[in-house]
Symmetry: C2
Subunit: 530 residues, 2 copies
């Protein structure tokens, strides 16, 4: 079992610059400091990690393509082998209940295995072949073969709210490794021990499988220096990030300003609007009120897909808000993931209640160490449209009811939101079909996932899911950070023209040694390419 060192994993070594600053892991339910002391990485350590990742990536090009599948499977097994030591550390650093931690570990391990399966199967690269025709007039037609290829070293910024599933061995790392990239992970400083345990699982996997040791590196620390150093490093080819709009945008801006810009796939949360039509609410008021309350309270409101803004017909808003308040009251004290998130959330709620036109139904209050009580606020469409601040995410257990007189007003508000991970619509048998259709079109235009008669929290990990959406939900609305399609982010498109068979990647060779489905001369087939 790995004993925590408080240092960084760089090129297979636990290292830190002796002169650097330190930081502590804090138990948010007690405020207690959790040993050991952690060292804050400095720019030179970020550089060393990027260089190690580049050397390892270059070495990996000579390995059989299934190396990443073996690695991901072994990481998954090693995470389970960490056993209670991991669960206990996560619990202490995050105050998440054991059932949630165990469940999220399961999701994390399943994600790693899913991407191992995708990497091993091999068809994710979209192999496409147009064979030659030497007799074509006026010019011979060349042989052309296209597929997706790894980019190189990827900087992954772990999230605070999913310390396992979007931590340093989470979805970004799994999908980037599956495609054949190497990793420099920046651990979220809210749970550094968790990050180090994950890194130890990867280190053991790399050693056991005798893979290039720099394929995975971990740097830790609060502040922006090391993250900026990573994004600016010439060897870093892309960035994966889950966190705040401010943080994601800062990385995006740095990456865009480089001499050679690189893509940033940042998932930055959103307000996840829900539009309740009249019929839906009169037919299913109790179910909707309870569903909303559960969706607001889940993970102490710290899910990216928490419903933040709920549009309610004005004649029905009082009944609904009373029912939600009743359901919220069951959870009077929720421990948040860290003091910073709790304080930000309280500040946001205080600000919210001071905005003209906003009525505080239940005020969200700090209750203990990093704890708060849930909140509920109300406004109308006119104020929602005129006050930009009402369209910002409040990351925690609170929501804003927006009462509307007619659906057109609500749809104007939804247009103004502009970008969200999800958008939900509740429809009843008695709701006008034309209004249903129009409402869905508006919701679709701003969201990566639209939901009918359901709630946005609870994200499936499968082929059809999209965890993405227009800015400010993400920086790339043509991608997802969850599900199998996430592998298409950390890649680039390459075509091979008249390249001899023995020099082609296996996925493109004539004999189809990977036995994958390919597109040959416009037809989908597993046949040979000759």
């Amino acid at each position: 079992m790995h004993k925590l060192t408080g240092s960084h994993l760089i090129d297979g070594q636990w290292r830190q610059e002796r002169s650097s600053r330190t930081f502590d892991a804090i138990d948010p339910s007690t405020g207690a400091t959790l040993p050991p002391v952690f060292f804050s990485a400095v720019g030179t350590e970020a550089n060393s990690a990027a260089e190690a990742a580049k050397r390892a990536f270059d070495l990996s090009l000579d390995l059989p393509p299934k190396w990443s599948a073996d690695l991901l499977d072994k990481i998954a097994a090693n995470i389970l082998d960490l056993g209670n030591a991991l669960l206990e550390r996560v619990e202490k650093e995050t105050a998440l209940p054991r059932a949630r931690v165990t469940g999220e570990r399961g999701r994390t391990v399943n994600q790693l295995k899913m991407f191992a399966g995708i990497a091993r199967e091999g068809s994710w690269g979209d192999a496409t072949i147009d064979t030659a025709d030497p007799n074509r007039q006026p010019l011979p037609k060349p042989d052309l073969r296209r597929m997706l290829r790894a980019r190189g070293p990827i900087a992954v910024f772990g999230a605070s709210n999913f310390p396992l599933a979007f931590g340093v061995c989470g979805g970004d790392t799994a999908s980037a490794l599956a495609a054949g990239n190497s990793i420099v992970a920046k651990g979220h400083p809210s749970h550094p021990g968790t990050n180090e345990l994950f890194a130890s699982a990867v280190l053991d996997a790399l050693q056991t499988l005798n893979l290039p040791i720099g394929l995975f590196n971990l740097v830790q620390g609060p502040g922006n220096e090391v993250g900026a150093a990573l994004v600016n490093h010439p060897f870093i080819e892309a960035v994966g990030f889950t966190g705040s709009l401010r943080g994601g945008r800062a990385l995006f801006d740095l990456a865009a300003k480089r001499d050679r810009p690189i893509p940033v796939f940042a998932e930055m949360g959103s307000v996840n609007p829900i539009l309740l039509l009249r019929g839906a609410l009169s037919e299913n008021s109790a179910t909707i009120a309870n569903g909303l309350a559960q969706s607001i309270l889940g993970g102490a409101g710290q899910f990216c897909t928490k419903p933040g803004v709920i549009f309610v017909p004005s004649s029905q808003v009082d009944d609904l808000s009373q029912a939600i308040v009743k359901a919220l009251a069951a959870a009077s004290e929720l421990v948040m993931l860290n003091y910073g998130l709790r304080d930000n959330f309280c500040e946001r709620c205080s600000h919210l209640s001071e905005i003209p036109g906003v009525k505080t139904i239940v005020k969200s209050n700090p209750t203990g160490h990093a704890s708060i009580s849930p909140g509920l606020y109300e406004t109308d469409t006119e104020h929602f449209l005129s006050q930009l601040a009402l369209r910002e995410e409040a990351f925690g257990p609170a929501a804003l009811l927006v009462k509307y007189e007619n659906e057109a007003d609500a749809l104007r508000c939804i247009d103004a939101i502009g970008g969200s991970l999800t958008a939900s619509l509740h429809i009843g048998k008695t709701d006008n079909p034309t209004i249903q259709k129009r409402a869905l079109a508006h919701l679709e235009s701003i969201a990566g996932r639209v939901i009918v008669n359901g709630f946005p929290t609870g994200v499936e990990v499968n082929d059809a899911v999209v965890h993405g959406g227009p800015y400010p939900a993400t920086t790339d609305s043509n991608s997802t950070s969850v599900g199998s399609a996430a592998i298409r982010r950390f890649v680039r498109m390459v075509a091979f023209q008249n390249v001899p068979d023995e020099l082609l990647p296996p996925a493109l060779q004539n004999a189809n040694p990977l036995q994958i489905s390919r597109t040959i001369n416009g037809q989908r087939t597993k046949a040979n390419a000759e």
Copy 2:
């Protein structure tokens, strides 16, 4: 037949602000001004065009999805109907020979028809379905369905060097329309009459098919004001560009600085390195010399894929350069597309010849109106590595030979190039297989298309082609601007959760009304989804 007006096409009207500046179309072979006078668009006209494109896009959402297929086919037919009037105008504005203009018109029409076919067939959206399981424990599994959807109004900046195939009805417009977007095209000021004729073909198609008239708009003019206004307009959702590194980077920077950043798919040309191994050159010296000369001279050197840097074993460089010079001499006077390109090219060649370590083998000289003679220059790997200016594109009929002592030196130079549309490798029977493999890996790492024993000019338009590559070749190395995969740029990913069948896009409906191939629960099938 459309009579040229010199104005812009905005919301179906030929319009211009009476107060605005004007510019002229110039015949590059004579310097003569070609009537009419063209009006330079101003910011307010760009805004009107973006607003028209937005209104039309919103209206298009209620149309059956094949509207774009019908439109593209009709545009293709209308372009052919423009007949000699189009061919003559292109010839006058560009000095391209008739055979080239006719050939490029064929490519343009075929591209439009190819994308019409892709839009009509319907499977490009990658429809993926994971069906529900209400009995799953601990939570029911929802129904999730994912596909690619249009983004909205797209700004397309036409290229100067392919006035038809990458003009205002070129590959960017065709692929963006096919996916269901609307267009504001910025015509290249080098051939405004050509642009207006194309726009007239689209206007007639929109009118004939009774489609929203603002689906295609054209603004014209030199300078940066109108382009910047477009990229900054809140209704514009993405940008397609083909042109210079400076121009593409300027648009990329503007788009990245917006409150809500939008993607820019800019193809900015490149140096297209060719690595000649010893064996290849001793076995096929005449073929290689002639092939290089033809590839340098094609289109007067104004192809994005023109080979700009050629690595040659030092012992063979004199023989090769003599053979190339001989082949280049056949074309002593080449008319370039406009005076600006010619002057830039001459300046670039003069600068090149003054860089320490560069030997001028044949100097490129201005010879007539917008004419020049081809040039050839030589340096060694040491100077190539130390002089950044040697890695910049010279857009015109010139190339730089880089003599190398050993392959490792040449590969270091290729790594330093960093990004290119293409990279080519010539291998012979006697070349070491390990060196072949290593060279191909280095070339692949910097290019969107790698070619063995061939030349980079001449780009196929099919499923497997990639016209893209790492920066500075493009701003998005996971995309192509040529071929069927170009449709995946101007789109975003959307998932539908528990959406009733009648509210789903046809591509995702249970009965598979489009009869397309979809991925259902991990299996590729044309079956129904229930």
